[in-house]
């Protein structure tokens, strides 16, 4: 229950408790709250907002690949 890891917050590195994200591995993005990772960010799902815009035909003005 004491699994922890170093998390980089855009340059600030903090030790974060990883007990609640047992599948998280080095290189994953995690959502951190009060020193605990509570969720792993799903990189495929992260594009969903932009796919939705695309489907509605509202992403035309955005450059290709910008959301990544």
């Amino acid at each position: 229950m004491l699994r922890s890891g170093r998390v980089d917050f855009a340059g600030v590195v903090k030790r974060v408790n990883l007990s609640y994200v047992p599948d998280a591995v080095v290189g994953n993005f995690v959502l951190v709250h009060v020193g605990f990772a509570i969720s792993t960010v799903d990189e495929d799902e992260a594009r969903q907002v932009f796919s939705y815009l695309e489907e509605m035909g509202e992403l035309a003005e955005l450059e290709e690949g910008e959301p990544s």
């Binding site: 007990s19 509570i38 932009f50 509202e58």
Partner: protein, 375 residues
């Protein structure tokens, strides 16, 4: 920063705004539940991108704001005791009690410490076996797993000098209370994404069905909020009332199961008083019987204490979506972040603090002057 900057893209935001205008035919009132969302909306001006028919009202999802006065008073009483190290998240220190706040207790010599995580408080307890270390455990379901782990670790370590002053609250009972009110104007919810990353969203399905309201689990960046509003308005326009997940990159249907398991081990559901709202049945968490030894209220004999809420603060109406912060006669005059009447003006998630920080110069001229003088 990845997963943040791209969700603030102005062109994409304009795309959602256009799409929303196309589908909106009638007035709709939505409530964003979480104070973090309120701040993003006001900071980025998300509400100003919406069609005039769509109004956002601000919900009760600010843990500091809903902590009842009597718990602040209990905190002040315990923190003032000799030998106690009182640990808290920073926001709680400036919430006004009846006469003083926790910062005043610290100024008078009380050992009040701001911590980043409840585990910091456990570490302090290990370093100071001769002192009583109390952690002020406020928060919603997002924070509960961290606080549960602190208690669990303290129990594993056999720490006898660590306890929790618990003021945990739960989101669904508060949403239910808001919808049950005859004054409620809320027709759809943006549910709090981070709460759902822990709890999942199945517990919202009975609410959506019973009250016929769409509930969209929504993230915290401007594009998340616009997308959440779009999905919610789309449901309303089509006459649907379902639970939908906008924040799929961080929220899974069943939530974080290991976190829920430890929460259920350490805590139990209890009735809880909400500041400005009153008691709501089964709306909070307290320590479960096997962990009662870690209950600071029992340890310091403050369990039965009560305190009446001050009458001038309108935060109760604001957190139920019945009023906007700037409609309060005290806003920006007798109530500012430097001299708050209530917690909604203190917390980084409080609606009044958001309006004060990002909107005060848009107030009518005479009010702006008063604020400027106050600075």
């Amino acid at each position: 920063m990845k997963f943040i900057d791209e969700y603030r893209d102005p062109e994409a935001a304009a795309g959602f705004a256009r799409a929303l205008r196309r589908i909106t035919t009638r007035p709709w009132t939505l409530m964003e539940v979480c104070g973090g969302q309120t701040h993003a909306i006001v900071k980025f001006g998300v509400d100003e991108l919406l069609p005039p028919e769509v109004e956002l009202v601000h919900g009760p999802g600010c843990p500091v704001c809903v902590t009842p006065l009597e718990l602040i008073e209990k905190a002040i009483e315990i923190a003032s005791l000799p030998g106690v190290i009182f640990c808290s998240f920073g926001d709680m220190l400036r919430v006004p009690g009846r006469t003083v706040d926790l910062l005043t207790v610290k100024a008078r010599g009380g050992d009040v410490r701001i911590v980043y995580s409840p585990l910091d408080a456990v570490a302090i307890a290990r370093e100071h076996p001769e002192r009583e270390v109390v952690f002020f455990a406020v928060g919603f379901e997002t924070t509960a797993p961290a606080n549960a782990m602190a208690v669990f670790q303290a129990a594993q370590l056999g720490l006898k000098n660590f306890s929790l002053l618990v003021s945990h609250v739960l989101v669904p009972p508060a949403m239910s209370a808001i919808l049950s009110s005859p004054d409620s104007r809320v027709q759809g919810f943006l549910a709090a994404g981070h709460v759902c990353s822990v709890m999942g969203f199945t517990e919202y399905e009975p609410l959506a069905a019973r009250y016929r309201v769409p509930i969209v689990v929504t993230g915290f960046e401007p594009l998340d909020i616009l997308h959440g509003v779009y999905l919610c308005v789309k449901q309303l326009e089509e006459g649907r009332a379902e639970v939908e997940n906008q924040y799929t990159r961080a929220v899974r249907r069943d939530g974080n199961v290991p976190a829920q398991l430890l929460m259920r081990e350490v805590f139990q559901v209890v009735p809880r008083k909400w500041r400005g709202v009153g008691e709501i049945a089964e709306s909070g968490l307290g320590l479960a019987a096997p962990y009662a030894a870690f209950d600071a209220e029992l340890r310091f004999g403050v369990a039965g204490h009560t305190a009446d809420e001050p009458t001038e603060c309108c935060s109760g109406q604001i957190m139920q979506g019945l009023m906007k912060p700037h409609e309060c006669p005290a806003f920006g005059r007798r109530c500012t972040p430097e001299h708050p009447l209530g917690a909604t003006m203190v917390s980084s998630e409080g609606a009044c603090a958001a309006y004060y920080r990002y909107r005060r110069f848009k107030l009518p001229k005479d009010e702006g002057k008063v604020v400027a003088n106050g600075n």
